[in-house]
C-alpha cells in the first residue's frame, strides 16, 4: 500500500510538472510533445491503479488513453502543424515570464482552495489533480491559439481522470475517459478542417 501510494504520488508530481511546462511553453510543436509526455505518464498511472485495485475498467481506460490521447491525438496535431507552417511559430501573445508567474499564483490559490476541500474529504490525494485542473482552465483562458487551447482542454481531461483515480475510482470513469477523448478528437477535426478554409483560428477572447 505504501509503495503503491509512493508510485502514484511520484507519477502525480511528474504530471503536475508537465502541466506547469505546458502552461509556460510558447512553441506549439514543443507544447504538443510535452502534452504527449504528460498523457503517457497518466496512462501508466491509470494502468498501475487498475492493476493494484483489480479493476479491469481502469486498465482498459489506461490502454485507451495511451493509444488515443497519448499517441493518436498528438500525431494528428503535429501533422496539422506541419501542414500549416504558421503553427510552428511562437505564440507571440503569450509571454513566458507572465505564464510562470500566473502558474505559480494559480498553484498557490489551488493549495489554499484545496485546504477547504481537505476539511471535508480528510485527504490530500486530490490536491495535485485539482491544481492541474486549474492549470488546464488557465491555459484555455490565457491562450488565443486554438491548438494551444486544445492542449488546455487535454490537460483538464488528464486532471479529471487523475482526480477520479485518486479520489473515487469507479467504473464510469471508462465512459468519461472515452467521451472526453471523443470530444478532443472532434475539436481537433473541426479546427484542422476549418484551418484549411480560414487559416489559423485565433479566438480573441472567450466572451460572447
Amino acid at each position: 500500500m505504501i509503495a503503491y501510494n509512493a508510485v502514484i504520488d511520484f507519477l502525480g508530481v511528474l504530471i503536475l510538472i508537465y502541466g506547469f511546462i505546458i502552461l509556460t511553453e510558447n512553441y506549439i510543436h514543443s507544447l504538443v510533445r510535452h502534452l504527449q509526455s504528460q498523457t503517457i505518464i497518466l496512462s501508466i498511472l491509470i494502468i498501475i491503479a487498475g492493476a493494484y485495485l483489480k479493476m479491469w475498467e481502469l486498465i482498459a481506460l489506461g490502454i485507451f488513453t495511451l493509444l488515443f490521447r497519448a499517441l493518436l491525438i498528438p500525431e494528428l496535431l503535429l501533422r496539422g502543424i506541419k501542414r500549416e507552417h504558421i503553427w510552428e511559430h511562437r505564440e507571440f501573445g503569450v509571454k513566458a515570464k507572465s505564464s510562470i508567474v500566473m502558474g505559480i499564483i494559480t498553484a498557490i490559490i489551488g493549495i489554499i482552495a484545496y485546504a477547504g476541500i481537505y476539511r471535508v474529504l480528510g485527504t490530500w490525494n486530490g490536491m495535485i489533480p485539482f491544481i492541474l485542473l486549474l492549470f488546464g482552465l488557465l491555459i484555455i483562458i490565457m491562450r488565443r491559439n486554438a491548438l494551444a487551447q486544445i492542449s488546455g482542454y487535454i490537460v483538464e481531461e488528464n486532471a479529471l481522470l487523475y482526480l477520479g483515480i485518486v479520489l473515487y475510482p469507479i467504473g464510469f470513469l471508462l465512459e468519461v475517459g472515452i467521451l472526453l477523448d471523443v470530444i478532443g478528437a472532434v475539436l481537433l477535426a473541426v479546427i484542422l478542417s476549418a484551418e484549411k478554409d480560414y487559416g489559423p483560428i485565433e479566438i480573441e477572447e472567450l466572451s460572447g
Binding site: 477547504g116 482542454y153 473515487y168 465512459e175 467521451l179 473541426v190 478554409d197 480560414y198 479566438i203
Partner: protein
C-alpha cells in the same frame, strides 16, 4: 409498463438517428418527424402513468414533464427544419447527418434527465455538448466555427467543474445516485461546485458567455432545442443534486446567482441588435428565474412545480420565437433594425411572435405568469431577494417587448412571407394559448 414506454421513446429516437445516417435527406426528414411525433405521444402517455424507478431509470413527475418538453421541441424543430435548412448556403456536414445529430441531441437530453446516477447525467450532458456543437457547425462559416469552439471550451470547462463536484459527491456519499441520498458533510462545497458546473451549461451568470454566440449562430431548430430543452435539462440535473445538499447557505448562493442572471440578461437584452442573440439572452433570463425557483425547494419542495410551469411555457414561447427568427433569416432579416412592419408582412408570424414574447416575459395571463407568480409568492418571505427578482423580471419584460413592438408595428418595408413558412410558429403559439387553460384548470391541483 413505464419501462417499456421509456425504452420505446429511446428506441424510436435512436432509429431516426440511424436511418438518417444511411438514408438521404428526404427520408431522414420524415424519419425524424415520425420519430418525434411518436416520442411526443408516448411522453404524453407517460404523464398519466405512475412513478417508476430502477437502477437505470428514474421516472417521477419532473422526469415526465421534461420528457414532454424535450420531445415536443424535437417535434417542432423537425417540422420547421425544412424552412430553416434552405437558409444554409454551404454545409459543413451533410444535411442527413444533421438530422441524425438532431435525434442524437434529443436522446442525450432524455437520458440525462431520466437517469438516477449523477455520473451518467453528467456524461449525457457532456455528450449533448459535443453533438449540439456539431449542429452549430452545420453551416460552414468562420463565425460558426468560432461559436462552436467557444461553446465547447466554455461548456466543457464548466462541466469539468461539475464532474469534480460529482466525484466529491461520490467520495462523501459513497455512491452517485441522488435517490434517497443524504450528505453528512461538504454540502456547500459540492453544491456550489455543481452550481458552477451545471450552471455553465444552463447559461447562468457569469458562465453564460457561450450562450448568445451558440444560440445566435446555430440553425434555428437547433437554437430552439438548445434554449427550450438543453438549458432546463442542465438545471434539472442541478436540482437533483441541490435536493440532496439541503443547505441554507446554498439556498442564498443559488438564489442570488439566479437573480444576478436575470439582471445581467435583462440589461444585455436592451442593447441587442440581432434577433437570435436577443432571444438567447431572454433564455438566460428565464433560466435565472427557474434557478431562483429551484433554490426555493429548500423551504418548499413543491416549488419545483412552478419551475416546471416556467420550463413548459418557455419551451412553447422560445421555440416559436427561434423558429420565427429562422423564417425571418430566410428573408435575409437577422438584425432587429432591419425588421419593420412585420404585421404587414405576415399576420400569422406576427401573432406567433407577439404571443410568444408575452409568454416568455411572463405577462398575465400567459402560461409563464403562473409559474413566475408562484416563485414570487414563495420568495416573499425574503423581501430583498423578492424585490431584486421582481424588478429584474420587469426590466426583462420591457427590454424584450420593446424590441418586439418595434419589429411588429413600426413603419417600414414589408416582406412577402408565405403561410407555409410561418405555420409552425403560429401553431405553437395557438398551443401555448391552450396551455393557459390547462395550467389554470389543472395546474393549481399540483
Amino acid at each position: 409498463m413505464q419501462e417499456s414506454v421509456i425504452y420505446s421513446i429511446f428506441g424510436v429516437v435512436v432509429a431516426a438517428s440511424l436511418i438518417s445516417i444511411i438514408k438521404n435527406n428526404t427520408i431522414a426528414k420524415f424519419a425524424n418527424i415520425l420519430a418525434a411525433s411518436v416520442a411526443f405521444i408516448l411522453s404524453l402517455y407517460l404523464l398519466i402513468q405512475p412513478d417508476f424507478h430502477n437502477s437505470w431509470l428514474y421516472l417521477d413527475f419532473v422526469t415526465k414533464v421534461m420528457f414532454v418538453i424535450i420531445t415536443m421541441i424535437y417535434l417542432f424543430a423537425a417540422l420547421h427544419a425544412n424552412v430553416c435548412m434552405r437558409n444554409i448556403k454551404r454545409f459543413f456536414i451533410p444535411p442527413n447527418y444533421g438530422w441524425s445529430l438532431l435525434a442524437g441531441f434529443t436522446l442525450t437530453m432524455l437520458l440525462a434527465v431520466s437517469t438516477p446516477s449523477l455520473g451518467y447525467a453528467w456524461l449525457w450532458l457532456e455528450a449533448s455538448t459535443i453533438i449540439s456543437a456539431t449542429l452549430i457547425l452545420m453551416e460552414k462559416e468562420k463565425s460558426h466555427v468560432e461559436s462552436a469552439w467557444r461553446y465547447v471550451l466554455i461548456a466543457s470547462s464548466g462541466l469539468a467543474i461539475g464532474l469534480f463536484s460529482i466525484i466529491l459527491y461520490g467520495e462523501i456519499t459513497g455512491g452517485f445516485t441522488w435517490v434517497n441520498a443524504t450528505i453528512s458533510k461538504g454540502a456547500i462545497l459540492v453544491g456550489s461546485l455543481a452550481l458552477i458546473g451545471f450552471g455553465t451549461k444552463a447559461g447562468l451568470f457569469p458562465m453564460h458567455t457561450w450562450l448568445p454566440d451558440a444560440h445566435g449562430t446555430a440553425p434555428s431548430p437547433v437554437s430552439a432545442l438548445l434554449s427550450g430543452a438543453l438549458l432546463p435539462s442542465s438545471l434539472i440535473v442541478f436540482y437533483r443534486i441541490y435536493g440532496v445538499m439541503h443547505s441554507l447557505p446554498l439556498f442564498y448562493l443559488t438564489a442570488i446567482l439566479g437573480i444576478l442572471t436575470v439582471w445581467i440578461a435583462s440589461l444585455l437584452m436592451i442593447s441587442q441588435k440581432r434577433t437570435k442573440r436577443l432571444f438567447a439572452y431572454s433564455s438566460m433570463d428565464v433560466m435565472g428565474i427557474a434557478t431562483v425557483g429551484i433554490s426555493l425547494t429548500y423551504f418548499n419542495p413543491s416549488a419545483i412545480y412552478f419551475v416546471l410551469i416556467v420550463f413548459i411555457a418557455h419551451a412553447f414561447g422560445k421555440s416559436a420565437l427561434f423558429l420565427s427568427a429562422g423564417t425571418l433569416k430566410r428573408h435575409g432579416k437577422e438584425e432587429i433594425s432591419e425588421i419593420r412592419n412585420l404585421i404587414g408582412s405576415s399576420k400569422t408570424l406576427s401573432f406567433a411572435i407577439l404571443v410568444s414574447a408575452l409568454t416568455v416575459t411572463g405577462a398575465p395571463p400567459f402560461a409563464m405568469f403562473f409559474g413566475e407568480f408562484g416563485i414570487f409568492i414563495s420568495l416573499i418571505s425574503h423581501p430583498w431577494l423578492f424585490f431584486f427578482l421582481i424588478s429584474g423580471v420587469l426590466l426583462s419584460f420591457l427590454a424584450l417587448n420593446y424590441h418586439m413592438i418595434s419589429m411588429l408595428f413600426s413603419d417600414g418595408e414589408s416582406m412577402r412571407i408565405k403561410l407555409s413558412e410561418s405555420i409552425v410558429p403560429f401553431g405553437i403559439s395557438i398551443a401555448s394559448l391552450f396551455l393557459i387553460l390547462i395550467i389554470y384548470f389543472w395546474g393549481w391541483n399540483l
